[in-house]
Symmetry: C2
Subunit: 445 residues, 2 copies
C-alpha cells in the first residue's frame, strides 16, 4: 500500500483529497491528511477507510521527519514559505513531493540531489501557476514543432463568481484570499509589446485595460500582472516580441477599484491613528482635502473627476464607504480597513458558486501564414467546498500524484509542468474533470 | 587651545569651517578638518594658520578613537548613518558632539551616558532640521508662556534658485542632492487638519498644493512632507488640531513634476532592460501604451489629459525627454535615468546663487482674540561655495559649537534645539549673519 501524505487541509485541499480518496481503493493508497487542526483534517477524510487524519505541526522537526520517512509521496498545500522545510526532508529520504506553489530558490537548489535520489519535486501544478503553464506550453510546443514562429502571447486568468450568482453591482465576490485581492497589482507591471518594454506604475494599472471575450461567458476586462517578462524564459520564448499576462475582472470593476487606488485606500504600509473609533465616512474623508460643509461624496467626486450620477459612485455607495458606521479595527492599515468592509459586502454566500476563467491568445507565423489561436476555459465550482479554485488547484495536483506513483511521470529533479511528459497526460485527464480548453483559430490579414 | 574636529569637507561644510577659522584667533581654537580626501579638507582650510587638514576614514577605528580623544568637540558632517560611530567615541571620552542630522535611535540611547559624562550630543542644528525648529519653537514658547492656545501650525521650507538666476521654465535648479529631489515625497504624506487626520498617497501629492506668499519674493506652492504628525510631540503641541509641514517650489513646478510621477518615471525599485541603448524618447515611451504611428508626445498628452499647447508640455519638451538621444546609463532605474537628464538641464551654473525659503504660519487664541502670525525668512547664497544651503546649515552648527565651547550652552545629554537655552542665543547670532525671520501679525475675524 502506497502512503500519500497531504499537508494542509485548507480551502484549496478538499477536491484534491476527495480525488485521492476516491481513487485509493483502486490504486491501493493510504491517504494521510495532516493539519495544525486535526478537526479540519478529519472533515476532509470524512471517515473514509483509506484515509487518516493527524494533527501536524510543520515546526515540529521530529514529526516532519517521521511522517516523510513513512510516506511514498508528500503533497504540501501549506503556504509557499513552508515548502522547502518539507522538500529538504523529501530529498533526504528519497520521497517525491508535489506543490501548487511557485518554485522557490531554496527548492531549485535541491535539483541535483533530487536527481541523485531518483525523485521528483514537482511545483506549480495548481491552476495559476499550473493549468496556465500546461495549456500554454501544449500550444507553444505544437507551434514550435511545426516550425512556426510565435509573435505574441497574451494570457489572462481570473477567479470570479459564476454568472448565476453574480448579483452585486461590482460583479465580484471574494472566492479566494481577500488580502491578495486588496493588494493586487502593487509594484510596477512589466511586459513587452512589439519589442517595446512597457512599465506601468500601480496607480495607472487599473486604467490600462484590455477587453477580453471568453466563450459564451461574454465580456471581461484584463489588467497586466506584475512581471510578465520572466515568463519568456519559462516558456522558452526569449525573443518573443509581445508577452503579457494579466488578471480578469468583469467590465467596470477596475474603473471603480481605481478610486480606492487613487485615494490611497489600498496602502498597507502604515496604520491609521484611532482607526477603531473612525467611521467608514471618516476613513474616506482622511484621503480628501479638508473643506468645510462639503459632503464627503461631493469632495470625492470632484477630486477624482467622477460624475455624481455615474456607476462608479453607485458602486461606492453600495459598498457603504460613506456610512457613519464604526470600523472597530484597532491600529489598522488603510488596506486592512478596506478589506474588512469588502469582506462584508463581497461575501461568498452559502450556495454561491465561483468560476475560474483563463484565456491564452497566440499570434504566430507558420508556412508564411499568420494565424491567431484563442484557447479558453471556464471552470465553475460545485459549491462552497468544492469551489472552482479547489477543483482547479486540487485536480492537477492529484493527477500528478497518481502519475508519479504509477510511474507514468518518470522525470526526476525539480520541475514545473512545462515538459510534455508531465503536461500531456495531466491535460488529458483534466478534460475528464471538465477542465477543457476550447480553441478558436483565425487567419490574420 | 581648544581643538575642534570637523568630519567631512563636503558641500555643506564650507561656511561652517570658514566661521570656525574666522573666529579661531579670537577664541584660541585649533580647527582640524578630516575628510576621506585630504585635498578636499585642505581646500577648506586654505592655509589658515589655526587650521589643519587630515585624511580621515570613518571606518578606521583606531583613527576615530585617536582623533576624538585629542579633541574638545567633534562636528560630524558625514552622512547621517555614520554619526553614531562618532557619538559612541564622544561619550566614551567625554567630548561634545554637534550634527545637523536627524537624531537617530542609536544616538538617543546615549542620553544617560552623555549626561553622566557632562557632555552634549546636539543634533538637528542645521537648516531643516535646525533653523526650522528654533524659529518655530521661539514663537510657540512665546505664545504658550502668555497662556495662548495654538490651533494651527503650518510650515514650509524650500531650497530654490535665487530670483536673479531663476532663468529656466521650471523655475528650479539643483541646489542640493539631486537624488533626494527626484525621490521626494515617496511614501504617504500624513498630517492633521482641524482635528482630522489626512493621508495623501505619493501619486496625489503634487496635486494637493497650497499657495504660499513669502515677503517680497512673491508666490510659491507647497506640498506636504511625509510625516507632519510626529512634529506635534517634538514641539510639545500634542493636541494641536492642524499641523502640516511641507516643501516649497515655484508655481507650476508640481503640476509638471506630477507628469513624471503619473508615468512612473520616478520609480527607483527596478532597473530597465537595456537602458544603456535606449533614447530618452524610448524611455518615456515605455510608460505609454503601444499605439502604432502615434507620436510619443501625443500619446503622453492624451494619456494624462494634458493640453498639447500647455506650459506642461513646453516644460517637458524643454527638458528633452522626447529627444532621440541615447541615455548611456547601464542597468538604470527609471529614477536614475530621470535624474541623469535633469542634472544636465537643472544644473546649478558657475555664478548662480541659491536661496532657502522658510515660512511658519501660526493661528492661535490669546485673551479671547484670534490671531495669525506669519514668520518668514529668505536667505540667498553668496555663490557656488558659500551657498544658502552651506550658510544655513553651517552657521547654526558653528554658533552652537562656539556656545558649547564658551560654556553658554550648558545642557548635557542628547538634544535638538528646542529649548530656549539653545535656540535663543543661536537665533540672536543668526540675525547678524542675515538669517532673520520677519513676522507679520494679523487679527483673525
Amino acid at each position: 500500500m502506497k502512503r500519500i501524505f497531504v499537508i494542509g487541509a485548507g480551502l484549496s485541499s478538499p477536491t484534491l483529497i476527495k480525488y485521492l480518496l476516491d481513487n485509493s481503493i483502486e490504486y491501493n493508497w493510504k491517504v494521510i491528511v495532516g493539519d495544525i487542526s486535526e478537526e479540519s483534517a478529519q472533515k476532509r477524510i470524512n471517515g473514509h477507510p483509506n484515509g487518516e487524519a493527524i494533527a501536524f505541526d510543520i515546526y515540529n522537526e521530529k514529526q516532519r521527519t517521521d511522517e516523510v520517512k513513512k510516506s511514498d509521496i508528500i503533497i504540501s498545500m501549506l503556504p509557499a514559505r513552508f515548502h522547502h522545510f518539507v522538500a529538504k526532508e523529501c530529498v533526504k529520504y528519497a520521497k517525491h513531493m508535489v506543490t501548487a506553489s511557485y518554485v522557490s530558490e531554496e527548492i531549485k537548489e535541491l535539483d541535483n540531489e533530487a536527481k541523485d535520489k531518483g525523485i521528483i519535486l514537482l511545483n506549480e501544478i495548481g491552476v495559476d501557476p499550473g493549468i496556465d503553464h500546461m495549456s500554454a506550453k501544449n500550444i507553444i510546443d505544437r507551434i514550435n514543432n511545426a516550425d512556426g514562429k510565435i509573435n505574441s502571447f497574451i494570457s489572462f486568468t481570473g477567479g470570479l463568481v459564476a454568472p448565476k450568482y453574480d448579483n452585486n453591482p461590482w460583479n465580484y465576490k471574494f472566492t479566494w484570499n481577500p488580502r491578495n485581492v486588496v493588494l493586487a497589482g502593487q509594484g510596477p507591471a512589466q511586459y513587452i509589446h512589439n519589442g517595446m518594454y512597457k512599465y506601468i506604475p500601480y496607480y495607472q494599472l487599473f486604467k490600462r485595460l484590455q477587453r477580453v471575450y471568453v466563450l459564451e461567458y461574454g465580456e471581461f476586462e484584463g489588467y497586466p500582472n506584475r512581471d510578465s517578462l520572466r515568463y519568456r524564459t519559462v516558456y522558452g520564448l526569449d525573443d518573443i516580441p509581445t508577452m503579457l499576462r494579466g488578471t480578469l475582472r468583469r467590465p467596470g470593476f477596475s474603473q471603480t477599484w481605481d478610486v480606492f487606488v487613487q485615494l490611497g485606500v489600498t496602502d498597507d504600509t502604515y496604520t491609521l491613528e484611532d482607526s477603531e473609533n473612525m467611521t467608514y465616512r471618516d476613513f474616506i474623508n482622511t484621503f480628501l482635502r479638508y473643506e468645510k460643509d462639503i459632503p464627503v461624496e461631493s469632495k470625492l467626486a470632484k477630486y477624482l473627476k467622477i460624475n455624481d450620477d455615474s456607476m462608479i459612485m453607485y458602486k461606492l455607495r453600495w459598498l457603504g464607504i460613506f456610512e457613519r458606521k464604526k470600523i472597530g479595527l484597532k491600529n489598522a492599515t488603510p488596506a486592512q480597513i478596506l478589506q474588512h468592509l469588502l469582506e462584508q459586502k463581497w461575501h461568498f454566500d452559502e450556495g454561491d458558486k465561483d468560476m475560474i476563467v483563463m484565456q491564452h491568445q497566440f499570434e504566430y507565423e507558420l508556412n508564411n501564414k499568420k494565424s491567431k489561436i484563442i484557447s479558453s476555459t471556464i471552470v465553475e465550482g460545485k459549491g462552497n467546498i468544492h469551489t472552482a479554485m479547489s477543483l482547479t488547484v486540487g485536480v492537477p495536483v492529484a493527477i500528478a500524484t497518481k502519475l508519479i506513483l504509477t510511474g507514468k511521470i518518470k522525470a526526476t529533479g525539480v520541475h514545473i509542468p512545462i515538459i510534455k511528459e508531465i503536461y500531456e497526460p495531466i491535460l488529458y485527464e483534466l478534460e475528464q474533470y471538465g477542465i477543457k480548453f476550447i480553441e478558436e483559430k483565425t487567419e490574420l490579414k
